[in-house]
Amino acid sequence: MSAQERADREPTTAGPAARLHIVTGKGGTGKTTVAASLALALAGEGRRTLLVEVEGRQGIAQLFEVEPLPYEERKIAVAPGGGEVYALAIDPELALLDYLDMFYKLGRAGRALKKIGAIDFATTVAPGLRDVLLTGKVCEAVRRKDNAGWRAYDAVVMDAPPTGRIARFLNVNDEVAGLARFGPIYNQAQAVMRVLKSSETAVHLVTLLEEMPVQETVDGVAELRAAGLPVGAVLINMLRSVVLDDMAVASAGDGNRRAAIAKALSQAGLGGARRGGYAERLVDPLLEQAREHAERVVLERQERAEIAALALPTYELELLGDGVDLGGLYRLAESLRKQGFAREDTR
């Protein structure tokens, strides 16, 4: 059985697995990195995925260390096992011209519209219209099939706007309702909404184990649920390892243990343990770092509880000490696969 057939097979239980993965998160949580890792993870076993960015930042190109992406789907990475990741940076203006061309054969009139600023007007000033175009293009890629009836992509991953704007961005129906109550834009919005609200779609939220990102995640989940949009998973990014917990640190800070710690440091070859010796002088700064670490551990435990209360599938991505490079992306993708992200998808 080919990967394609496997992907097309409908699961016997539950609904169809998500094929459109929308990745959101507070600014600074590593949304783009996580979206890219997901696209790689989902491209296992000869599958083909499309990674889409909609905010014109060229974040994908930077991450995959390739030239800025044009408005066209192109292959940017090969996943272990022969899968392929394609990428697309959607430019709203070009998307509108595309759309005009496809439905109205406007050709030259379209270019004239652009020249006098009408396209700019339509895409930047009427926000609902812009979002319909962006999400519309993504939904088209999700549904596209080739001549033989096979899906163009097994999964599509969208690097979406941040949590604060996501419900609005996806709820294009409401957004254009005030503007277009009928007509082609209205119909387009309806079609987009059908895909976005179906079980084919999952909106994932990226967070850090810090107060503000977790708060935004909780608020974002509530907003998405209220809008009837399917919430997928919470992805905890940049997770740091716990070396010492708060109890250990409290114990270490105990006055009469300091001498023992200094002695141990000295034994490890770090100078003298007596007052004024190198090992003894190290104790204070090391304990200070440990106290900060412990404070963080306690805080992270609280944040983890907040996330657990959402009762959503949760995945974790470790902090890459030297920043994210191409190798790091593959590691994160592998980690997601091991945690069962892609498996859940092929159910």
Binding site: A112, L244, Q267, L286
Partner: protein
Amino acid sequence: MSWEAPVLEINPLLDDPKTRIIVCCGSGGVGKTTTAAALGVRAAERGRRAVVLTIDPARRLAQSMGLTHLDNTPRKVAGIDESAGGELHAMMLDMKRTFDEIVEQHADPARAQAILDNPFYQSLSAGFAGTQEYMAMEKLGQLRARDEWDLIIVDTPPSRSALDFLDAPKRLGSFLDGKFIKMLLAPAKAGRRAGMAFLNVGMSMMTGALSKVVGAHLLQDVQTFVAAMDTMFGGFRMRADATYRLLQASGTAFLVVATPERDALREASYFVQRLAAEDMPLAGLVLNRVHGSGAAELTTERALAAAEALEELEFAEAANGTDAANRLEGDESEEESDGELSTPLPSRLMESPGNLPHRGIVHRASEKPILEPPAESLAAGLLRLHAERMQVVARERRTRDRFAAVHPDVPVAEVAALPSDVHDLDGLRMVGERLAEGQPTAA
């Protein structure tokens, strides 16, 4: 090798009566709002009559300044030490309300109502990607015109890019002023002029195409809106220009806020170049969440080697059966020695946080509760933590040095990372303190 950037002196900047406006800008998630609030608290407690204009503060940060709801007017912040003669006011921007107020001020009641009821206006005022930036500028202009404060500190909207703050107002301005709008208005006006018939033909072809796409009634809404706003366009443009000049004035200081991360500093770099191109006065870079170490001379490699030595020692002792009662089991204290931080992800450990308190050492935790982990284990843990910290310090230094190499003249204030989020005045004072130090303190 490390580039030494000049230090950005925050106190003289805040104390100088000639400093009238401070704009904090930068990409999302770098602590702009916290920086703006901390500067406000510090300025007020050093005797300035300051107002902080925030755009979208985190709930608890807003509460710390007594901002419980959006009401678009500055409120006095309680709990500020006013002994130096200063005070602090704060407000959250309500962009729709700001827009509505402009309309109400510049149109007669009937016309204002027509604009406010127009569906296109409602969409524009609530959602246009540049409206927030434009309204922040508008509000800044208003606050400055009231002349009630001698220092205005502005936090900029959480845009996808820091540059939006400078671009968006112009974009809205050029839209409202643009060719397209003129053409939408043209049919009504051009009818009066015979010579414009040609334009009219082009126009109807174009509106025809457009109404096909968006629907005729939308186009009609836009036309009605534009007609109603017509008299105000000049005003918009003029005010945008005035605010723009205000930003270029010598009393204004831009602070670019970033963290020592690659993406944030790349954005900061763009912004610095852009400010220079626009003749906007840059005071310097605020680098938040910088890590340091009180034991910086102990390198990552040496700390890891020492940690391994201790763990081996422990293993040997445990194997000899000495003092076994107070020790981890031998096989558990054996560490891989590949030099990596080989601690497992907390996921496995933190699944049931309730189980933790009795475990001294979290990794390799024994089934038996160990109340007093041996000093060797503790010391090894401390060393591993230090190694981790030194890796972070080194990475941050590399990113920061890259920025400094490109912008050697930009003064930098580094703010040492705090272990947790700030959400009270004391926290803001502490951030202000660290800002003023300009260099990370030991820890």
